[in-house]
Symmetry: C2
Subunit: 323 residues, 2 copies
Protein backbone atom coordinates (compact mmCIF):
# COMPACT_ATOMS: atom_id res chain seq x y z
CA UNK A 1 0.00 0.00 0.00
CA UNK A 2 1.48 3.30 -1.11
CA UNK A 3 1.59 6.20 1.34
CA UNK A 4 0.55 8.65 -1.39
CA UNK A 5 -2.93 7.17 -0.99
CA UNK A 6 -3.03 8.87 2.40
CA UNK A 7 -2.13 12.32 0.99
CA UNK A 8 -5.22 14.12 2.34
CA UNK A 9 -4.18 13.21 5.90
CA UNK A 10 -0.38 13.06 5.62
CA UNK A 11 0.21 15.80 8.22
CA UNK A 12 -2.23 14.27 10.66
CA UNK A 13 -0.53 10.88 10.41
CA UNK A 14 2.59 12.62 11.73
CA UNK A 15 0.51 13.60 14.80
CA UNK A 16 -0.51 9.96 15.22
CA UNK A 17 3.16 8.91 15.07
CA UNK A 18 3.89 11.43 17.79
CA UNK A 19 1.05 10.13 19.96
CA UNK A 20 2.20 6.55 19.42
CA UNK A 21 5.64 7.51 20.67
CA UNK A 22 3.97 8.73 23.87
CA UNK A 23 3.16 5.07 24.55
CA UNK A 24 6.83 4.57 25.32
CA UNK A 25 6.85 7.53 27.69
CA UNK A 26 7.21 5.66 30.98
CA UNK A 27 9.34 6.09 34.06
CA UNK A 28 11.66 3.13 33.53
CA UNK A 29 14.26 3.50 30.78
CA UNK A 30 14.38 -0.22 29.92
CA UNK A 31 10.60 -0.43 29.64
CA UNK A 32 10.63 2.71 27.52
CA UNK A 33 13.22 1.08 25.25
CA UNK A 34 11.05 -2.02 24.76
CA UNK A 35 7.90 -0.03 24.05
CA UNK A 36 9.76 2.31 21.72
CA UNK A 37 11.12 -0.65 19.77
CA UNK A 38 7.59 -1.95 19.35
CA UNK A 39 5.76 1.25 18.43
CA UNK A 40 8.47 2.57 16.13
CA UNK A 41 8.37 -0.65 14.12
CA UNK A 42 6.69 1.15 11.27
CA UNK A 43 4.00 -0.48 9.23
CA UNK A 44 1.84 1.34 6.75
CA UNK A 45 -0.34 3.09 9.35
CA UNK A 46 -3.30 2.15 7.18
CA UNK A 47 -5.77 1.86 10.06
CA UNK A 48 -5.13 5.33 11.54
CA UNK A 49 -5.21 6.79 8.01
CA UNK A 50 -8.70 5.32 7.64
CA UNK A 51 -9.87 6.97 10.86
CA UNK A 52 -8.47 10.32 9.77
CA UNK A 53 -9.94 10.06 6.26
CA UNK A 54 -13.28 8.88 7.64
CA UNK A 55 -13.46 11.95 9.86
CA UNK A 56 -13.11 14.36 6.92
CA UNK A 57 -16.79 14.41 5.90
CA UNK A 58 -18.30 16.22 8.87
CA UNK A 59 -16.81 17.87 11.96
CA UNK A 60 -13.09 17.16 11.57
CA UNK A 61 -11.85 17.39 15.17
CA UNK A 62 -8.25 16.29 15.52
CA UNK A 63 -8.42 16.41 19.33
CA UNK A 64 -10.70 13.39 19.06
CA UNK A 65 -9.57 11.75 15.82
CA UNK A 66 -5.82 11.65 16.59
CA UNK A 67 -6.19 9.79 19.94
CA UNK A 68 -8.73 7.45 18.33
CA UNK A 69 -6.50 6.72 15.32
CA UNK A 70 -3.57 6.17 17.68
CA UNK A 71 -5.61 3.79 19.84
CA UNK A 72 -6.65 1.77 16.79
CA UNK A 73 -3.07 1.47 15.54
CA UNK A 74 -1.75 0.62 19.00
CA UNK A 75 -4.36 -2.11 19.47
CA UNK A 76 -3.25 -3.58 16.15
CA UNK A 77 0.38 -3.33 17.27
CA UNK A 78 -0.34 -5.03 20.60
CA UNK A 79 -2.06 -7.95 18.87
CA UNK A 80 0.98 -8.36 16.59
CA UNK A 81 3.26 -8.54 19.65
CA UNK A 82 1.14 -11.35 21.11
CA UNK A 83 0.83 -13.10 17.72
CA UNK A 84 4.60 -13.07 17.28
CA UNK A 85 5.03 -14.43 20.80
CA UNK A 86 2.55 -17.24 20.18
CA UNK A 87 4.14 -18.09 16.81
CA UNK A 88 7.64 -17.72 18.23
CA UNK A 89 8.40 -15.43 15.26
CA UNK A 90 11.93 -14.03 15.05
CA UNK A 91 11.22 -11.07 12.80
CA UNK A 92 8.47 -8.59 11.98
CA UNK A 93 8.90 -6.04 9.19
CA UNK A 94 12.57 -6.95 8.98
CA UNK A 95 13.32 -6.22 12.64
CA UNK A 96 13.68 -8.65 15.55
CA UNK A 97 10.43 -9.19 17.48
CA UNK A 98 10.02 -8.23 21.14
CA UNK A 99 9.78 -11.89 22.12
CA UNK A 100 13.02 -12.64 20.29
CA UNK A 101 14.84 -9.72 21.95
CA UNK A 102 13.45 -9.93 25.48
CA UNK A 103 11.74 -13.30 25.78
CA UNK A 104 8.10 -14.41 25.68
CA UNK A 105 7.21 -13.32 29.22
CA UNK A 106 8.30 -9.71 28.70
CA UNK A 107 6.59 -9.67 25.29
CA UNK A 108 3.27 -10.84 26.78
CA UNK A 109 3.41 -8.13 29.45
CA UNK A 110 4.52 -5.44 26.99
CA UNK A 111 1.58 -6.39 24.73
CA UNK A 112 -0.75 -6.15 27.74
CA UNK A 113 0.66 -2.73 28.56
CA UNK A 114 -0.01 -1.57 25.01
CA UNK A 115 -3.59 -2.90 25.11
CA UNK A 116 -4.09 -0.77 28.21
CA UNK A 117 -2.43 2.24 26.61
CA UNK A 118 -4.61 1.87 23.51
CA UNK A 119 -7.72 1.86 25.72
CA UNK A 120 -6.36 4.92 27.49
CA UNK A 121 -5.91 6.71 24.14
CA UNK A 122 -9.48 5.91 23.16
CA UNK A 123 -10.76 7.02 26.57
CA UNK A 124 -9.25 10.45 25.82
CA UNK A 125 -12.06 10.97 23.31
CA UNK A 126 -14.47 10.96 26.29
CA UNK A 127 -16.98 9.36 23.92
CA UNK A 128 -18.74 6.41 25.52
CA UNK A 129 -19.96 4.98 22.23
CA UNK A 130 -16.47 4.60 20.78
CA UNK A 131 -15.09 3.40 24.13
CA UNK A 132 -17.61 0.55 24.19
CA UNK A 133 -17.11 -0.16 20.50
CA UNK A 134 -13.36 -0.41 21.10
CA UNK A 135 -13.70 -2.90 24.00
CA UNK A 136 -16.02 -5.09 21.91
CA UNK A 137 -13.58 -4.93 19.00
CA UNK A 138 -10.75 -6.31 21.12
CA UNK A 139 -13.07 -9.16 22.14
CA UNK A 140 -13.80 -9.84 18.47
CA UNK A 141 -10.13 -9.80 17.52
CA UNK A 142 -9.32 -12.31 20.25
CA UNK A 143 -12.27 -14.53 19.27
CA UNK A 144 -11.04 -14.54 15.67
CA UNK A 145 -7.52 -15.48 16.72
CA UNK A 146 -8.84 -18.17 19.04
CA UNK A 147 -11.07 -19.60 16.29
CA UNK A 148 -8.04 -19.74 14.04
CA UNK A 149 -6.03 -21.56 16.72
CA UNK A 150 -8.80 -24.03 17.32
CA UNK A 151 -9.44 -24.79 13.68
CA UNK A 152 -5.77 -25.53 13.00
CA UNK A 153 -5.21 -28.58 10.79
CA UNK A 154 -8.95 -28.98 10.31
CA UNK A 155 -9.63 -29.17 6.59
CA UNK A 156 -13.39 -29.40 6.75
CA UNK A 157 -13.76 -25.63 6.95
CA UNK A 158 -16.15 -23.75 4.72
CA UNK A 159 -15.95 -20.32 3.11
CA UNK A 160 -18.50 -19.20 5.66
CA UNK A 161 -16.36 -20.21 8.64
CA UNK A 162 -13.38 -18.52 6.96
CA UNK A 163 -15.33 -15.30 6.34
CA UNK A 164 -16.56 -15.37 9.94
CA UNK A 165 -13.01 -15.80 11.22
CA UNK A 166 -11.40 -13.03 9.13
CA UNK A 167 -14.34 -10.76 9.81
CA UNK A 168 -13.44 -10.97 13.49
CA UNK A 169 -9.67 -11.21 13.16
CA UNK A 170 -9.18 -8.39 10.63
CA UNK A 171 -12.32 -6.63 9.40
CA UNK A 172 -13.64 -5.77 12.88
CA UNK A 173 -10.75 -3.38 13.57
CA UNK A 174 -11.00 -1.79 10.10
CA UNK A 175 -14.73 -1.30 10.72
CA UNK A 176 -14.05 0.27 14.11
CA UNK A 177 -11.38 2.54 12.60
CA UNK A 178 -13.92 4.05 10.19
CA UNK A 179 -17.09 3.80 12.31
CA UNK A 180 -15.39 5.65 15.17
CA UNK A 181 -14.37 8.37 12.70
CA UNK A 182 -18.03 8.84 11.82
CA UNK A 183 -19.11 8.93 15.46
CA UNK A 184 -16.37 11.35 16.52
CA UNK A 185 -17.01 13.71 13.61
CA UNK A 186 -20.71 13.90 14.50
CA UNK A 187 -21.72 12.30 11.22
CA UNK A 188 -25.42 11.44 10.81
CA UNK A 189 -26.10 7.79 11.70
CA UNK A 190 -26.56 6.86 8.05
CA UNK A 191 -23.00 8.02 7.30
CA UNK A 192 -21.64 6.31 10.42
CA UNK A 193 -23.08 3.04 9.12
CA UNK A 194 -21.74 3.72 5.61
CA UNK A 195 -18.27 4.27 7.08
CA UNK A 196 -18.57 1.08 9.12
CA UNK A 197 -19.61 -0.86 6.02
CA UNK A 198 -16.68 0.65 4.08
CA UNK A 199 -14.16 -0.38 6.77
CA UNK A 200 -15.61 -3.82 7.24
CA UNK A 201 -15.62 -4.66 3.52
CA UNK A 202 -12.18 -3.14 3.03
CA UNK A 203 -10.86 -5.30 5.88
CA UNK A 204 -12.31 -8.41 4.22
CA UNK A 205 -10.79 -7.49 0.83
CA UNK A 206 -7.48 -6.76 2.50
CA UNK A 207 -7.34 -10.09 4.34
CA UNK A 208 -8.45 -12.18 1.35
CA UNK A 209 -5.79 -10.43 -0.77
CA UNK A 210 -3.18 -11.13 1.92
CA UNK A 211 -4.20 -14.77 1.99
CA UNK A 212 -3.91 -14.97 -1.82
CA UNK A 213 -0.46 -13.38 -1.63
CA UNK A 214 0.66 -16.15 0.69
CA UNK A 215 0.30 -18.53 -2.29
CA UNK A 216 1.38 -16.30 -5.16
CA UNK A 217 4.39 -14.28 -4.00
CA UNK A 218 7.87 -15.72 -3.82
CA UNK A 219 9.65 -16.49 -0.58
CA UNK A 220 11.88 -13.43 -0.83
CA UNK A 221 8.97 -11.00 -1.08
CA UNK A 222 7.01 -12.79 1.66
CA UNK A 223 9.97 -13.04 4.04
CA UNK A 224 8.67 -16.51 4.88
CA UNK A 225 7.97 -19.75 2.96
CA UNK A 226 5.23 -19.78 0.32
CA UNK A 227 1.95 -21.14 1.76
CA UNK A 228 3.24 -20.59 5.30
CA UNK A 229 -0.36 -20.35 6.55
CA UNK A 230 -1.07 -23.84 5.27
CA UNK A 231 2.21 -25.16 6.67
CA UNK A 232 1.17 -23.83 10.09
CA UNK A 233 -2.22 -25.51 9.73
CA UNK A 234 -4.30 -22.45 8.85
CA UNK A 235 -6.77 -23.02 6.03
CA UNK A 236 -7.33 -19.79 4.07
CA UNK A 237 -9.54 -19.03 1.09
CA UNK A 238 -7.31 -20.43 -1.71
CA UNK A 239 -7.09 -23.83 0.01
CA UNK A 240 -10.82 -23.81 0.76
CA UNK A 241 -11.74 -23.02 -2.86
CA UNK A 242 -9.29 -25.71 -3.95
CA UNK A 243 -11.15 -28.22 -1.76
CA UNK A 244 -14.49 -27.13 -3.22
CA UNK A 245 -13.26 -27.59 -6.78
CA UNK A 246 -11.33 -30.82 -6.25
CA UNK A 247 -13.21 -32.61 -3.47
CA UNK A 248 -11.95 -36.07 -4.39
CA UNK A 249 -8.34 -35.20 -5.04
CA UNK A 250 -7.51 -32.46 -2.54
CA UNK A 251 -3.76 -32.30 -1.87
CA UNK A 252 -4.39 -30.27 1.32
CA UNK A 253 -5.29 -33.58 2.97
CA UNK A 254 -1.69 -34.68 2.44
CA UNK A 255 -0.30 -31.44 3.89
CA UNK A 256 -2.38 -31.76 7.05
CA UNK A 257 -2.19 -35.54 7.44
CA UNK A 258 1.44 -36.27 6.87
CA UNK A 259 3.50 -34.07 9.09
CA UNK A 260 7.04 -33.20 7.99
CA UNK A 261 7.70 -36.15 5.70
CA UNK A 262 8.58 -36.14 1.98
CA UNK A 263 4.95 -37.00 1.15
CA UNK A 264 3.91 -33.86 2.95
CA UNK A 265 6.35 -31.76 0.93
CA UNK A 266 4.97 -33.29 -2.26
CA UNK A 267 1.40 -32.50 -1.21
CA UNK A 268 2.44 -28.94 -0.35
CA UNK A 269 4.13 -28.41 -3.72
CA UNK A 270 1.08 -29.82 -5.46
CA UNK A 271 -1.27 -27.55 -3.51
CA UNK A 272 0.73 -24.44 -4.46
CA UNK A 273 0.95 -25.64 -8.06
CA UNK A 274 -2.79 -26.23 -8.44
CA UNK A 275 -3.77 -23.01 -6.64
CA UNK A 276 -1.55 -21.01 -8.99
CA UNK A 277 -2.50 -22.79 -12.21
CA UNK A 278 -6.22 -23.43 -12.05
CA UNK A 279 -9.46 -21.53 -11.69
CA UNK A 280 -8.84 -21.29 -7.91
CA UNK A 281 -7.01 -17.95 -7.94
CA UNK A 282 -9.42 -16.16 -10.30
CA UNK A 283 -12.25 -17.20 -7.98
CA UNK A 284 -10.35 -15.84 -4.95
CA UNK A 285 -9.60 -12.55 -6.73
CA UNK A 286 -13.25 -12.30 -7.72
CA UNK A 287 -14.22 -12.61 -4.05
CA UNK A 288 -11.63 -10.05 -2.91
CA UNK A 289 -12.77 -7.67 -5.63
CA UNK A 290 -16.36 -8.16 -4.53
CA UNK A 291 -15.50 -6.96 -1.01
CA UNK A 292 -13.49 -4.03 -2.43
CA UNK A 293 -16.46 -3.08 -4.63
CA UNK A 294 -18.81 -3.15 -1.66
CA UNK A 295 -16.39 -0.91 0.25
CA UNK A 296 -16.34 1.54 -2.66
CA UNK A 297 -20.13 1.45 -2.98
CA UNK A 298 -20.56 2.16 0.73
CA UNK A 299 -19.10 5.66 0.26
CA UNK A 300 -20.65 6.26 -3.18
CA UNK A 301 -23.04 8.90 -1.84
CA UNK A 302 -20.33 10.85 -0.01
CA UNK A 303 -19.23 14.19 -1.51
CA UNK A 304 -16.65 13.65 -4.21
CA UNK A 305 -13.70 15.26 -2.43
CA UNK A 306 -10.06 14.11 -2.00
CA UNK A 307 -10.80 12.06 1.17
CA UNK A 308 -13.55 10.11 -0.60
CA UNK A 309 -11.32 9.52 -3.62
CA UNK A 310 -8.58 8.32 -1.23
CA UNK A 311 -10.99 5.83 0.36
CA UNK A 312 -12.02 4.56 -3.09
CA UNK A 313 -8.37 4.25 -4.19
CA UNK A 314 -7.44 2.40 -1.00
CA UNK A 315 -10.27 -0.06 -1.60
CA UNK A 316 -9.17 -0.73 -5.15
CA UNK A 317 -5.52 -0.88 -4.18
CA UNK A 318 -6.24 -3.44 -1.43
CA UNK A 319 -6.77 -6.02 -4.16
CA UNK A 320 -4.54 -4.90 -7.04
CA UNK A 321 -1.44 -4.45 -4.89
CA UNK A 322 -1.10 -8.20 -4.94
CA UNK A 323 -1.61 -8.94 -8.62
CA UNK B 1 -9.63 -14.44 54.18
CA UNK B 2 -12.94 -15.54 55.57
CA UNK B 3 -16.07 -14.91 53.52
CA UNK B 4 -18.01 -13.90 56.65
CA UNK B 5 -16.04 -10.66 56.44
CA UNK B 6 -18.08 -9.86 53.34
CA UNK B 7 -21.44 -10.44 55.07
CA UNK B 8 -22.86 -6.96 54.33
CA UNK B 9 -22.53 -7.65 50.58
CA UNK B 10 -22.96 -11.44 50.40
CA UNK B 11 -26.02 -11.26 48.12
CA UNK B 12 -24.40 -8.77 45.80
CA UNK B 13 -21.32 -10.98 45.40
CA UNK B 14 -23.67 -13.59 43.98
CA UNK B 15 -24.65 -11.01 41.32
CA UNK B 16 -20.96 -10.48 40.54
CA UNK B 17 -20.50 -14.24 40.15
CA UNK B 18 -23.40 -14.24 37.72
CA UNK B 19 -21.90 -11.35 35.73
CA UNK B 20 -18.52 -13.08 35.65
CA UNK B 21 -20.15 -16.14 34.17
CA UNK B 22 -21.46 -13.90 31.35
CA UNK B 23 -17.82 -13.55 30.28
CA UNK B 24 -17.99 -17.11 29.06
CA UNK B 25 -21.17 -16.40 27.11
CA UNK B 26 -19.76 -16.59 23.58
CA UNK B 27 -20.88 -18.22 20.37
CA UNK B 28 -18.30 -21.00 20.23
CA UNK B 29 -18.77 -23.85 22.72
CA UNK B 30 -15.06 -24.63 23.04
CA UNK B 31 -14.20 -20.98 23.73
CA UNK B 32 -17.03 -20.82 26.21
CA UNK B 33 -15.59 -23.90 27.95
CA UNK B 34 -12.14 -22.30 28.27
CA UNK B 35 -13.51 -19.01 29.57
CA UNK B 36 -15.83 -20.80 31.97
CA UNK B 37 -12.92 -22.84 33.34
CA UNK B 38 -11.03 -19.60 34.00
CA UNK B 39 -13.79 -17.46 35.52
CA UNK B 40 -15.25 -20.25 37.66
CA UNK B 41 -11.85 -20.86 39.26
CA UNK B 42 -13.03 -19.35 42.48
CA UNK B 43 -10.79 -17.20 44.59
CA UNK B 44 -11.94 -15.17 47.51
CA UNK B 45 -13.61 -12.41 45.42
CA UNK B 46 -11.96 -9.93 47.78
CA UNK B 47 -11.61 -7.17 45.18
CA UNK B 48 -15.28 -7.11 44.10
CA UNK B 49 -16.31 -7.28 47.77
CA UNK B 50 -14.26 -4.13 48.35
CA UNK B 51 -16.05 -2.31 45.52
CA UNK B 52 -19.43 -3.34 46.87
CA UNK B 53 -18.56 -2.40 50.47
CA UNK B 54 -17.02 0.89 49.32
CA UNK B 55 -20.26 1.80 47.57
CA UNK B 56 -22.34 1.43 50.74
CA UNK B 57 -21.67 4.91 52.17
CA UNK B 58 -23.55 7.02 49.65
CA UNK B 59 -25.76 6.25 46.66
CA UNK B 60 -25.60 2.42 46.54
CA UNK B 61 -26.43 1.72 42.87
CA UNK B 62 -25.96 -1.93 41.97
CA UNK B 63 -26.49 -1.23 38.25
CA UNK B 64 -23.12 0.53 38.38
CA UNK B 65 -21.33 -1.26 41.21
CA UNK B 66 -21.91 -4.83 40.03
CA UNK B 67 -20.41 -4.30 36.53
CA UNK B 68 -17.52 -2.35 38.09
CA UNK B 69 -16.85 -5.04 40.71
CA UNK B 70 -17.03 -7.70 37.97
CA UNK B 71 -14.61 -5.74 35.78
CA UNK B 72 -12.12 -5.43 38.62
CA UNK B 73 -12.27 -9.15 39.40
CA UNK B 74 -12.03 -10.10 35.74
CA UNK B 75 -8.99 -7.88 35.21
CA UNK B 76 -7.35 -9.63 38.16
CA UNK B 77 -8.30 -13.01 36.68
CA UNK B 78 -6.89 -12.10 33.25
CA UNK B 79 -3.56 -11.08 34.78
CA UNK B 80 -3.39 -14.41 36.62
CA UNK B 81 -3.93 -16.26 33.32
CA UNK B 82 -1.00 -14.41 31.76
CA UNK B 83 1.17 -14.80 34.90
CA UNK B 84 0.57 -18.55 34.90
CA UNK B 85 1.44 -18.70 31.20
CA UNK B 86 4.67 -16.76 31.73
CA UNK B 87 5.63 -18.90 34.76
CA UNK B 88 4.54 -22.08 33.00
CA UNK B 89 2.51 -22.89 36.14
CA UNK B 90 0.61 -26.18 36.14
CA UNK B 91 -1.95 -25.35 38.83
CA UNK B 92 -3.83 -22.40 40.26
CA UNK B 93 -6.07 -22.84 43.31
CA UNK B 94 -5.75 -26.60 42.97
CA UNK B 95 -7.00 -26.74 39.37
CA UNK B 96 -5.00 -27.05 36.17
CA UNK B 97 -4.18 -23.69 34.56
CA UNK B 98 -5.47 -22.66 31.13
CA UNK B 99 -1.96 -22.82 29.70
CA UNK B 100 -1.54 -26.36 31.06
CA UNK B 101 -4.87 -27.50 29.60
CA UNK B 102 -4.86 -25.70 26.24
CA UNK B 103 -1.30 -24.46 25.71
CA UNK B 104 0.37 -21.09 26.06
CA UNK B 105 -0.97 -19.58 22.82
CA UNK B 106 -4.61 -20.19 23.70
CA UNK B 107 -4.00 -18.96 27.25
CA UNK B 108 -2.47 -15.68 26.00
CA UNK B 109 -5.48 -15.07 23.72
CA UNK B 110 -8.00 -16.09 26.37
CA UNK B 111 -6.33 -13.64 28.79
CA UNK B 112 -6.54 -10.92 26.12
CA UNK B 113 -10.22 -11.70 25.61
CA UNK B 114 -10.85 -11.35 29.34
CA UNK B 115 -8.98 -8.02 29.47
CA UNK B 116 -11.33 -6.81 26.76
CA UNK B 117 -14.38 -8.19 28.56
CA UNK B 118 -13.30 -6.52 31.81
CA UNK B 119 -13.04 -3.19 29.97
CA UNK B 120 -16.46 -3.83 28.47
CA UNK B 121 -17.93 -4.47 31.97
CA UNK B 122 -16.45 -1.21 33.23
CA UNK B 123 -17.71 0.67 30.16
CA UNK B 124 -21.24 -0.42 31.18
CA UNK B 125 -21.02 2.06 34.04
CA UNK B 126 -20.95 4.84 31.39
CA UNK B 127 -18.71 6.76 33.79
CA UNK B 128 -15.70 8.28 32.02
CA UNK B 129 -13.73 8.80 35.20
CA UNK B 130 -13.78 5.13 36.20
CA UNK B 131 -13.19 4.06 32.58
CA UNK B 132 -9.99 6.13 32.42
CA UNK B 133 -8.97 5.03 35.91
CA UNK B 134 -9.39 1.41 34.86
CA UNK B 135 -7.22 1.78 31.72
CA UNK B 136 -4.47 3.45 33.75
CA UNK B 137 -4.69 0.69 36.35
CA UNK B 138 -4.03 -2.00 33.76
CA UNK B 139 -0.99 -0.01 32.65
CA UNK B 140 0.22 0.13 36.24
CA UNK B 141 -0.32 -3.60 36.78
CA UNK B 142 1.73 -4.39 33.68
CA UNK B 143 4.48 -1.96 34.68
CA UNK B 144 4.69 -3.64 38.08
CA UNK B 145 4.91 -7.09 36.53
CA UNK B 146 7.52 -5.89 34.04
CA UNK B 147 9.58 -4.29 36.82
CA UNK B 148 9.47 -7.59 38.68
CA UNK B 149 10.65 -9.46 35.58
CA UNK B 150 13.45 -7.02 34.97
CA UNK B 151 14.69 -7.00 38.55
CA UNK B 152 14.89 -10.80 38.70
CA UNK B 153 18.03 -12.10 40.41
CA UNK B 154 19.09 -8.55 41.26
CA UNK B 155 19.81 -8.44 44.99
CA UNK B 156 20.64 -4.75 45.23
CA UNK B 157 16.97 -3.80 45.56
CA UNK B 158 15.77 -1.46 48.26
CA UNK B 159 12.55 -1.38 50.28
CA UNK B 160 11.59 1.64 48.20
CA UNK B 161 11.89 -0.20 44.89
CA UNK B 162 9.94 -3.12 46.44
CA UNK B 163 7.18 -0.81 47.67
CA UNK B 164 7.03 0.88 44.27
CA UNK B 165 6.74 -2.48 42.54
CA UNK B 166 3.99 -3.95 44.78
CA UNK B 167 2.16 -0.64 44.74
CA UNK B 168 1.81 -1.06 40.97
CA UNK B 169 1.46 -4.84 40.85
CA UNK B 170 -1.09 -5.24 43.66
CA UNK B 171 -2.16 -2.07 45.45
CA UNK B 172 -3.18 -0.19 42.29
CA UNK B 173 -6.07 -2.59 41.60
CA UNK B 174 -7.19 -2.57 45.25
CA UNK B 175 -7.14 1.24 45.13
CA UNK B 176 -9.17 1.24 41.92
CA UNK B 177 -11.66 -1.23 43.42
CA UNK B 178 -12.46 1.14 46.26
CA UNK B 179 -11.95 4.50 44.50
CA UNK B 180 -14.34 3.50 41.74
CA UNK B 181 -16.90 2.56 44.40
CA UNK B 182 -16.69 6.09 45.75
CA UNK B 183 -17.00 7.64 42.30
CA UNK B 184 -19.94 5.46 41.25
CA UNK B 185 -21.82 6.03 44.51
CA UNK B 186 -21.52 9.82 44.08
CA UNK B 187 -19.41 10.14 47.22
CA UNK B 188 -17.94 13.58 47.93
CA UNK B 189 -14.35 13.85 46.66
CA UNK B 190 -12.94 13.68 50.19
CA UNK B 191 -14.57 10.26 50.68
CA UNK B 192 -13.46 9.09 47.21
CA UNK B 193 -9.86 9.85 48.23
CA UNK B 194 -10.36 8.17 51.61
CA UNK B 195 -11.63 5.04 49.85
CA UNK B 196 -8.68 5.15 47.46
CA UNK B 197 -6.26 5.46 50.37
CA UNK B 198 -8.00 2.56 52.15
CA UNK B 199 -7.69 0.31 49.07
CA UNK B 200 -4.12 1.28 48.32
CA UNK B 201 -2.90 0.67 51.88
CA UNK B 202 -4.90 -2.55 52.16
CA UNK B 203 -3.30 -3.77 48.94
CA UNK B 204 0.16 -3.03 50.31
CA UNK B 205 -0.60 -4.82 53.61
CA UNK B 206 -2.05 -7.75 51.69
CA UNK B 207 1.00 -8.15 49.42
CA UNK B 208 3.56 -7.76 52.24
CA UNK B 209 1.65 -10.39 54.26
CA UNK B 210 1.62 -12.68 51.20
CA UNK B 211 5.34 -12.23 50.77
CA UNK B 212 5.90 -13.05 54.45
CA UNK B 213 3.75 -16.17 54.08
CA UNK B 214 6.03 -17.37 51.30
CA UNK B 215 8.75 -17.77 53.97
CA UNK B 216 6.70 -18.88 56.98
CA UNK B 217 4.10 -21.36 55.74
CA UNK B 218 4.91 -24.96 54.97
CA UNK B 219 5.01 -26.39 51.48
CA UNK B 220 1.68 -28.17 51.87
CA UNK B 221 -0.19 -24.98 52.78
CA UNK B 222 1.55 -22.97 50.07
CA UNK B 223 1.06 -25.57 47.34
CA UNK B 224 4.60 -24.69 46.24
CA UNK B 225 8.09 -24.76 47.78
CA UNK B 226 8.85 -22.43 50.68
CA UNK B 227 10.57 -19.21 49.44
CA UNK B 228 9.44 -19.93 45.88
CA UNK B 229 9.66 -16.19 45.09
CA UNK B 230 13.33 -16.19 45.99
CA UNK B 231 13.93 -19.42 44.07
CA UNK B 232 12.42 -17.73 40.99
CA UNK B 233 14.66 -14.71 41.50
CA UNK B 234 12.10 -12.33 43.02
CA UNK B 235 13.38 -10.38 46.00
CA UNK B 236 10.53 -9.62 48.42
CA UNK B 237 10.47 -7.73 51.71
CA UNK B 238 11.79 -10.50 54.02
CA UNK B 239 14.89 -10.99 51.85
CA UNK B 240 15.40 -7.24 51.53
CA UNK B 241 15.16 -6.71 55.32
CA UNK B 242 17.52 -9.65 55.77
CA UNK B 243 20.05 -7.91 53.49
CA UNK B 244 19.69 -4.67 55.46
CA UNK B 245 20.33 -6.41 58.77
CA UNK B 246 23.12 -8.73 57.62
CA UNK B 247 24.86 -6.77 54.87
CA UNK B 248 28.16 -8.64 55.16
CA UNK B 249 26.79 -12.15 55.51
CA UNK B 250 23.68 -12.22 53.29
CA UNK B 251 22.84 -15.78 52.24
CA UNK B 252 20.60 -14.43 49.43
CA UNK B 253 23.79 -13.83 47.46
CA UNK B 254 24.35 -17.59 47.44
CA UNK B 255 20.78 -18.28 46.29
CA UNK B 256 21.10 -15.86 43.36
CA UNK B 257 24.73 -16.57 42.48
CA UNK B 258 24.89 -20.33 42.54
CA UNK B 259 22.13 -21.71 40.42
CA UNK B 260 20.83 -25.18 41.17
CA UNK B 261 23.84 -26.59 42.99
CA UNK B 262 24.10 -27.94 46.55
CA UNK B 263 25.66 -24.64 47.65
CA UNK B 264 22.56 -22.89 46.41
CA UNK B 265 20.32 -25.25 48.40
CA UNK B 266 22.41 -24.55 51.50
CA UNK B 267 22.11 -20.79 50.96
CA UNK B 268 18.35 -21.15 50.47
CA UNK B 269 17.93 -23.17 53.68
CA UNK B 270 20.02 -20.63 55.56
CA UNK B 271 17.95 -17.73 54.19
CA UNK B 272 14.69 -19.35 55.30
CA UNK B 273 16.21 -20.21 58.67
CA UNK B 274 17.46 -16.69 59.40
CA UNK B 275 14.27 -15.01 58.15
CA UNK B 276 12.20 -17.21 60.47
CA UNK B 277 14.45 -16.97 63.53
CA UNK B 278 15.68 -13.41 63.71
CA UNK B 279 14.32 -9.89 63.96
CA UNK B 280 13.56 -9.96 60.19
CA UNK B 281 9.99 -11.26 60.45
CA UNK B 282 8.90 -8.95 63.30
CA UNK B 283 10.12 -6.03 61.19
CA UNK B 284 8.14 -7.27 58.17
CA UNK B 285 5.00 -7.76 60.26
CA UNK B 286 5.45 -4.27 61.67
CA UNK B 287 5.51 -2.89 58.14
CA UNK B 288 2.45 -4.89 57.06
CA UNK B 289 0.61 -3.78 60.18
CA UNK B 290 1.56 -0.18 59.44
CA UNK B 291 -0.16 -0.39 56.05
CA UNK B 292 -3.20 -2.12 57.59
CA UNK B 293 -3.41 0.64 60.21
CA UNK B 294 -3.28 3.33 57.55
CA UNK B 295 -6.08 1.54 55.68
CA UNK B 296 -8.18 1.46 58.86
CA UNK B 297 -7.45 5.12 59.61
CA UNK B 298 -8.48 6.13 56.09
CA UNK B 299 -12.10 5.17 56.84
CA UNK B 300 -12.04 6.31 60.49
CA UNK B 301 -14.41 9.21 59.81
CA UNK B 302 -16.97 7.09 57.94
CA UNK B 303 -20.25 6.29 59.73
CA UNK B 304 -19.82 3.33 62.05
CA UNK B 305 -22.06 0.90 60.16
CA UNK B 306 -21.58 -2.77 59.16
CA UNK B 307 -19.81 -1.92 55.84
CA UNK B 308 -17.25 0.25 57.63
CA UNK B 309 -16.70 -2.42 60.28
CA UNK B 310 -16.23 -4.97 57.47
CA UNK B 311 -13.57 -2.76 55.85
CA UNK B 312 -11.78 -2.41 59.21
CA UNK B 313 -11.94 -6.15 59.85
CA UNK B 314 -10.64 -6.92 56.35
CA UNK B 315 -7.70 -4.58 56.92
CA UNK B 316 -6.82 -6.21 60.22
CA UNK B 317 -7.38 -9.70 58.84
CA UNK B 318 -5.07 -9.02 55.87
CA UNK B 319 -2.15 -9.23 58.30
CA UNK B 320 -3.27 -11.62 61.02
CA UNK B 321 -4.49 -14.32 58.63
CA UNK B 322 -0.85 -15.21 58.12
CA UNK B 323 0.39 -15.34 61.70
Amino acid sequence: MNNSLFAPVANEIALVEQTLRESADVEHPWLSEILDHIVSGGGKRLRPALTLLGGKFHNYNLDLLVPMASGVELLHTATLVHDDTIDNAAKRRGRPTASKLWGGGIAILAGDFLFARSAEFVARTCNLRVIRLFARTLMELCSGELEQSFSSFNRSQTRESYFDRISKKTASLFATATESAGILSDAPERDVQALRSYGSNLGMAFQVADDILDYTADEERLGKPVASDLIQGTLTLPAIVLGEKYPNDNPVAGVFDKRDGELRQQALRRTIEIVNNSDVLPECYRIAQGFADRARDAVADFPDNPPRRALVDIAQHSVVRHR
